[in-house]
Point group: C2
Chain length 382, copies 2
């Protein structure tokens, strides 16, 4: 049997105020192509289908189209759990009727003890689906008193283990943060100040753990305890990650092969670095200039309207930084503060030059330095 | 076969900022009881399940619980269309999988040509479901150029008629405004300034037309062209309506009997009229003092904090009116304006008496009249 593991689609997500839905739909289409090419039998989505609990209706339509193509037209099984971004009540609508079909949406904790069964002539796989939960929800369900995510998740796994049929293969699906795994900037903490990490050893006795939440594809502890990673890059910190789906080849002896298949967005996310002039010159020969771009400008002087100037060449320029300022901002010691003060007058000088075409003369410089000193004095007195 | 027709649940509706969900859930439970008592086979919901396109998750849970009880536990068929208040994309999620079960959510126009078939040994009923639509949506679908709701709906009915099997009974479900039917204050216009009325004659050749939108139970044109009316009263203009569901008894010859079965809310909606003292005295002997109340006070003098005083006895007092002011407000001729001016000084007099316990003396009255005159003069000059 071939099982495809994906997660963290975040349909409907905005990136610097721009909708990513068009790209997301393209990537869902790539997943459908992989399903065809690889003759996939079932798809597991390990949470965060949507980016927020009340997704825009276009995001719902996108998921619905995927269901139409995969579960209706191709008659493949889809198994999905709710993540911390999903609204469990909304996603959970009519699920007890849907489970009679081949779409399994698991959004309530008690459903974790009702495995979804995949079968072929030789193999039976019980898939235990644990929707995202915090300790409070587990306490409400099991009448326990867990404070930490790890203990709460342990409680659930203990109950699953008590129900397991050793003659079957057993997989678990969960949306959680494995202690020691690599995080990305685009994830939202599961708990503010709480102990939200879970020990990978919880999952070691399953034939496979299909995890969601962390956006970088990775395994932790053992090969078969895996995050598929997100559908696409959701922050500039992820530019060097290769986003993918994870494909499992399973027979009666267990998971025989684990393969990552890359997803190729038509519009990638990249960081470009150079002077404004260099970046503009490069654009002409850049076939991917429609990518989502973060530009780091290395110009020493101030530039008027750099965003507009660069956007004329990179239409999806999302963020602009100045390397010089980055360095200064990062300096947190006294010398950094001094540098910052020095930078103030230099910045004003550059700005003046850019706007009026001529540099400040000595008198003008002196006046400006006087104003800066006045401000500093007022600040130190207040 | 027994078919229950209901509509306009408006789950999640607020009434004077207060949620009605508790009452709505009680009434859905009454519908479940009627289904049991009458051995109902199928339930038709003719639109406006929710009050808005993004309903609160508690409203979604309420509908989900109804589905669990009726379609899952009791294995009855549910057929629902989207109304003008529902978000069709949201309500339409996973419907092509759900229709394999006994829950049919019809939210897209092309589905109007795919009847839902109810069967028993003797009878086959084709139920044609027309989700709420405006002329633009029909034009997009059929590449036509309708301006009015009536022509647009006619287009759909023509297509249904072309598909009809004369050997079957044929019912139609639609969410529309029949020309000449009685409206209530709590309905939202289907179109602002548009021609939103539909001719009842469109439906005359069907064995039954299960309509939604108008909140008063009624038939129009012919006995079998009916609005079930809303789940409960949604405005004080509906206090004298009896809300109900409509129950059809159908055999192979057609609809044999149409019966309205009342829904009895534990908290009704009522209008009380009298002086503050009278209403407070009545409350003691009023077993239904928890009802949603509109009070019309007939007191001649001003009263301080009447809302708070009355709410101590009628906890769900929603609205308070003064009969005296009602009369004055309704007067639109010159004598009415005169009366209003006279009323200003009287009101101030009453207010003073209420606050200080003694009436205004002659000097005070004169001063106040002077101020009123000044204001009037300034108003007429400005």
């Amino acid at each position: 049997m071939k099982i495809l593991h994906t997660s963290d689609w975040h349909l409907g997500r905005l990136f610097h105020q721009q909708s990513l839905l068009e790209q997301q739909i393209e990537l869902l289409q790539q997943i459908v192509e992989i399903i065809d090419q690889q003759a996939v039998d079932a798809v597991i989505i390990a949470g965060d289908i949507y980016d927020r609990s009340v997704p825009p209706s276009a995001a719902i339509s996108a998921f619905n189209d995927f269901i139409e193509e995969v579960a209706v037209s191709r008659q493949k099984t889809i198994i999905a759990i709710s993540g911390n971004h999903d609204g469990a009540e909304r996603l959970g609508f009519a699920t007890s009727l849907l489970k009679q079909s081949n779409l399994h949406l698991v959004t309530e904790l008690p459903q974790a003890l009702e495995p979804i069964v995949l079968n072929d002539s030789a193999t039976t796989i019980d898939i235990w689906c644990v929707p995202f939960h915090d300790p409070l929800q587990v306490n409400n369900w099991l009448d326990t008193d867990c404070k930490e995510f790890n203990t709460a998740h342990q409680m659930i796994v203990d109950r699953i283990n008590a129900e397991r049929n050793p003659a079957h293969l057993n997989m678990i699906v969960s949306h959680c943060y494995l202690d020691g795994a690599s995080e990305s900037e685009s994830e939202r903490p599961l708990s503010i100040g709480g102990a939200d990490r879970v020990d990978w050893q919880l999952f070691k006795d399953f034939d496979y753990a299909a995890l969601g939440h962390l956006h970088q594809p990775q395994h932790k502890g053992m090969e078969h305890i895996r995050y598929s990673g997100s559908l696409m890059k959701y922050s500039f910190s992820e530019v060097n990650q290769s986003k993918s789906i994870t494909l499992l080849d399973v027979n009666e002896k267990g998971v025989q092969n684990i393969q990552q298949i890359s997803l190729k967005p038509s519009r990638d996310m990249r960081v470009l670095k150079g002077t404004l002039a260099e970046l503009i010159a490069q654009a002409e020969h850049d076939p991917q200039r429609n990518d989502f771009i973060q530009a780091i400008l290395t110009d020493k002087q101030a530039i008027l309207y750099p965003m507009a100037k660069l956007r004329a060449h990179y239409p999806n320029l999302m963020q602009l930084r100045k390397e010089q300022l980055e360095h200064i901002r990062k300096a947190s010691d006294t010398s950094g503060q001094e540098q910052l003060k020095k930078a103030d007058s230099e910045l004003i000088h550059d700005f003046f030059t850019e706007v009026y075409g001529t540099p400040l003369n000595a008198d003008q410089k002196a006046s400006i330095n006087q104003v800066i000193q006045q401000i500093e004095q007022e600040e130190s007195e207040s």
